[in-house]
């Protein structure tokens, strides 16, 4: 620890860093930051930064409002888009109580807890998300946005702003040490996708936060706007975050075995766990009113709870493994969207899968529709309210806050009179 702090302080000095951003997220996965000067940094690294948590969504009841943001020094990184000599660096923080104990509202530590319990069983959890997003000419709240391009799936377009921007984004991510498997134009106009190389789930949750920040920041610099809203345009597909998952044990991929498609017993039970608990964790993986407009039939989004090798509408897919690349054996969980809180999403997905492994759940037949995913935030929230899996994974504090917040969101939505209703009913009724 000592030498890590020294490394950070020395790098700040050598590289002329002017500010260090201390990054963390609220319960809904929104990006928060403190900015500290190098002079304050040593204290911040040593003691953490005290702040009033009641100002942050999902953090505190007023009676226990002061909390500490404690930097995780392994995540210290210069942000490559600032000029030399005016450098800005970032470091992710865990939120702890004043007495140093983990704070129950900190998503990063919720994920740590689930990873720890997997670790106690001998498993390391690896994830690799495919992050989709839209580039628009501008974002004005309340106005349907105009896509930056008219391309479609895998289109190679003349070197336009969107392609340049995507390339610049990938290079910036690589400079930050974020491995990009590939990037491509997606199906809808203005829609792009970045596929990340797998890492352990904690690193990846941090990475998803970084990617969302980088994509938005570089779009802003190019005079356009990026959005991870799950379904920004009606009639075309929305943005998902298909997430590839694998468990490793003793440096071996624990999903490799003699079962269907080369899957192990652990893998089939993990899938069975996901299928069984999918409805109740959907409020976390798809947390907005708008998320459920993506989960509709006909646009390659999962609707039914089923697993398959090829069906793009299945919730769990078992991707083919290239010959000689048996270590890439994995499963793909297709419901999450990129507007989820990645810490909580990875935590509940792992917890659901582990329940299957530990409870010896039986894998349903391929293609069999076991049940369906909730069709609205309201339905998802009521499933969440009855879930002991979520209570165990996220703790009472977060579940309670989340339910309250999401019920309020649904109530606000219900009060709206939408263009759909005006168009359809006003002349008719």
């Amino acid at each position: 620890m000592q030498s890590q702090a020294q490394y950070v302080l020395r790098t700040v000095e050598e590289r002329g860093v002017r500010f260090v951003q201390l990054w963390f997220t609220d319960v809904l996965g929104r990006h928060k930051a403190f900015h500290v000067t190098p002079a304050e940094l040593e204290d911040a690294l040593d003691q953490g930064m005290t702040f009033d948590g009641s100002a942050i969504d999902g953090f505190s009841r007023t009676s226990e409002s002061d909390v500490l943001a404690r930097p995780d020094l392994t995540t210290f990184q210069l942000l490559p888009w600032y000029e030399e000599g005016r450098g800005i660096a970032r470091v992710f923080c865990d939120i702890v109580n004043i007495d140093g104990s983990p704070f129950s509202g900190c998503p990063r530590q919720q994920l740590r807890r689930v990873l720890d319990s997997a670790h106690d069983q001998g498993y390391a959890f690896y994830v690799a998300p495919e992050i989709e997003y839209f580039l628009f000419k501008d974002l004005v709240p309340g106005v349907s946005p105009e896509p930056l391009d008219r391309g479609s799936y895998f289109d190679l377009l003349p070197d336009d702003t969107a392609s340049q921007l995507r390339r610049r984004t990938v290079l910036t991510l690589e400079e930050m040490g974020i491995g990009v498997e590939h990037a491509q134009h997606e199906d809808a106009p203005g829609q792009h996708e970045i596929d990340l190389r797998y890492t352990d789930a904690l690193t990846m949750a941090d990475t998803v936060m970084s990617v969302r920040h980088v994509v938005k920041e570089l779009a802003r610099q190019a005079g356009v706007a990026a959005s991870f809203m799950p379904k920004p345009l009606a009639g075309v597909q929305g943005s998902g975050m298909h997430t590839h998952l694998s468990l490793w044990r003793d440096d071996q991929n624990a999903f490799i075995g003699d079962g269907p498609y080369g899957l192990s017993d652990v893998a089939t039970k993990f899938i069975a766990g996901l299928l069984h608990h999918a409805p109740e964790i959907t409020a976390i993986t798809n947390q907005w009113v708008n998320s459920y407009k993506r989960l509709v039939p006909g646009v390659e989004a999962p609707v039914d709870v089923a697993w398959a090798r090829h069906d793009a509408a299945a919730l769990v897919r078992v991707p083919s493994v290239k010959p000689g690349r048996i270590d890439s054996t994995r499963i793909e969980y297709r419901s999450p969207d990129p507007a989820a809180n990645p810490y909580l999403a990875f935590a509940v997905v792992l917890a659901a899968g582990l329940r299957g492994v530990n409870g010896d759940y039986e894998l349903p037949a391929e293609g069999a529709r076991v049940q369906r995913l909730p069709q609205s935030l309201a339905e998802a929230v009521s499933l969440m309210a009855d879930s002991d899996l979520l209570l165990e994974t996220l703790g009472e504090h977060q579940v309670e806050w989340f339910l309250r917040n999401k019920r309020a969101e649904w109530d606000a939505y219900r009060e709206q009179v939408t263009p759909f209703e005006l168009e359809r009913y006003l002349p008719l009724l």
Partner: protein, 230 residues
């Protein structure tokens, strides 16, 4: 002016005699706590340290060396006192100490090494560097450059690159790298090494990513490869 040398955790028997012979003053700290050490430190600093590793569990002794190395103020050369069976464990930890003596301790050997190390240390003032081809690492400022371009590394990336570049052309398994570079439990298990290697390659850039070569079903190797390598 006599040299003052830090002695952990004790200074007795042949060790004390070796100090007497060389005329070096020992200052004993029973613990490796940096605060305790700082309290004992003379105004012009320690000239070196003698650590009796056989008095600790081995990993604890290594962590102690690591900590001492990371101090703001240099301690000078570190001499380890070891049991014979601990010798194997020194492999790849050469960066943590400057010299070692195997027990049972011989007074004149210990005295000679002490004198020799202290003299050499007095003559060295150049910042330690690791250089390999276009890669240059300044171990004092923690800055790494590739073809003159500064690389922005996280701490573990820096430590991994330093370890690899200090031991070029040698193949390391993931487990070896994990235990030597990380030295603690990590969520990722040995695959963590793959993740960091990827990140390092990304930061080295396309032109230099090949400096870290994957050795199929074994692990990794650092260095400009010859055409005979796979």
């Amino acid at each position: 002016m006599t040299d003052v040398v830090l002695c952990i955790p004790s200074c007795e028997g042949p060790i004390r005699k070796a100090f007497d012979v060389t005329g070096v003053t020992p200052v004993v700290s029973a613990t490796g706590r940096l605060n305790d050490i700082a309290a004992l430190e003379p105004a012009d600093g320690f000239a070196g340290a003698v650590i009796n590793a056989s008095a600790f569990p081995f990993t604890e002794a290594m962590n102690l060396c690591r900590q001492l190395r990371s101090r703001e103020r240099s301690l000078g050369p570190v001499i380890l006192l070891l049991d014979h069976y601990q010798l194997d464990d020194l492999t790849f930890r050469e960066d943590l100490f400057d010299d070692f003596v195997v027990g049972p301790f011989d007074v004149s050997e210990l005295a000679t090494r002490l004198r020799h190390r202290l003299r050499r240390a007095g003559n060295e003032s150049v910042a330690p560097r690791v250089e390999h081809g276009q890669l240059s690492m300044n171990l004092e400022t923690y800055q790494a450059t590739i073809a003159g371009r500064v690389m922005d590394l996280t701490y573990m990336e820096y430590e991994l690159l330093r370890f690899l570049a200090t031991n070029p052309h040698r193949v390391f398994t993931r487990e070896t790298l994990l235990s030597r570079v990380w030295g603690y439990e990590y969520y990722g298990g040995a695959r963590t090494v793959d993740v960091h290697v990827r990140r390092l390659r990304a930061k080295l850039g396309e032109e230099y990513a090949h400096l870290i070569a994957t050795v199929r079903s074994v692990g990794y190797k650092f260095g400009e490869s010859s055409e005979f390598d796979v």
